[in-house]
Subunit: 194 residues, 2 copies
Amino acid sequence: MSKQSWRGSTLLNPEPPVLVSCGGLEQPNLITIGWTGTICTQPSMVSISVRPERYSHHLIKESGQFAINLPTEQLVRAVDWCGVKSGRDNDKFAACKLHAAPGSVLTDCPILEESPVNLECRVTQVIPLGSHDLFLAEVVACDVDESLLDENGKLCLDKAKLIVYSHGEYLSLGKKLGTFGYSVRKKKPGKRKK
Amino acid sequence: MSKQSWRGSTLLNPEPPVLVSCGGLEQPNLITIGWTGTICTQPSMVSISVRPERYSHHLIKESGQFAINLPTEQLVRAVDWCGVKSGRDNDKFAACKLHAAPGSVLTDCPILEESPVNLECRVTQVIPLGSHDLFLAEVVACDVDESLLDENGKLCLDKAKLIVYSHGEYLSLGKKLGTFGYSVRKKKPGKRKK
């Protein structure tokens, strides 16, 4: 390969374009966040980065709560729209014909009904970085739609038709290339003989 | 939708399963990181979360440098293997028949030659969270393979065939559902008439 050296940039791709809900249940807001990720397993923690000038920034800072709502293929237009419009000028739930429901644990954390997986998050730390403030938060509850569970109650997240964002494009998830641990897994002897 | 309330969990999906290279050029190591993301645009910053007991943890902490290497479909087996094996017992580059090259800017930051996009990162802060330590880092340089550039030098990241990880599965990127801003973009008058 022959490579060019560029200055630092936000080229980490692909990323999850999540819908974050915040504010109270009476005036809930939605914002699309690309700068997000899991940051710890025990306790379960996530981060989101938000520009201080965004309307959601003060809502999250004041309440110390937000929900990450995983978007599905059906929600892709709302994901885009909620990323370019402001909650200052729009009731985003109404404009997108979406609905806020109370979280199961947190009280100032409306969740997006139309998303099948909602992570209720309590902020633990806010770190100013420059253009964005980094919110660290503990995931205190997950609300999971029963349609994603199999007969044993196991989560089949592939049924959710989640989406991904890469370099300006919203994409569906493609073909399966492997499963965690497959590179070291021994083939079952029974299967070899077939 | 009818939802169950579960306790907090790491259900944020999908996520980028990146290969992180670290250590010196003489004994470089690779580790697969799922807990990563962009955290700031200006300056360009990323985070990775690493368990303190992982071999790479002290390499990154000592040098204060690492590279995020975006994995392609061709690298999926290495992504899996480098996530379940330890650099204490394995020369992962050799075992996966991969090659380390010097970064263009940082000196203690080997990059993965076979990855078409490498982000050279300098650690700015380490935050212990529990099972994982959160490393915040500035992206000081991006090394981009020329095969991804069009005739005007514009990056076409879709040519890279990046992969994504969701709930235990490695997946290719699927069909395009929209592009950033498409929900508010006016159609071109010329196109309407056709």
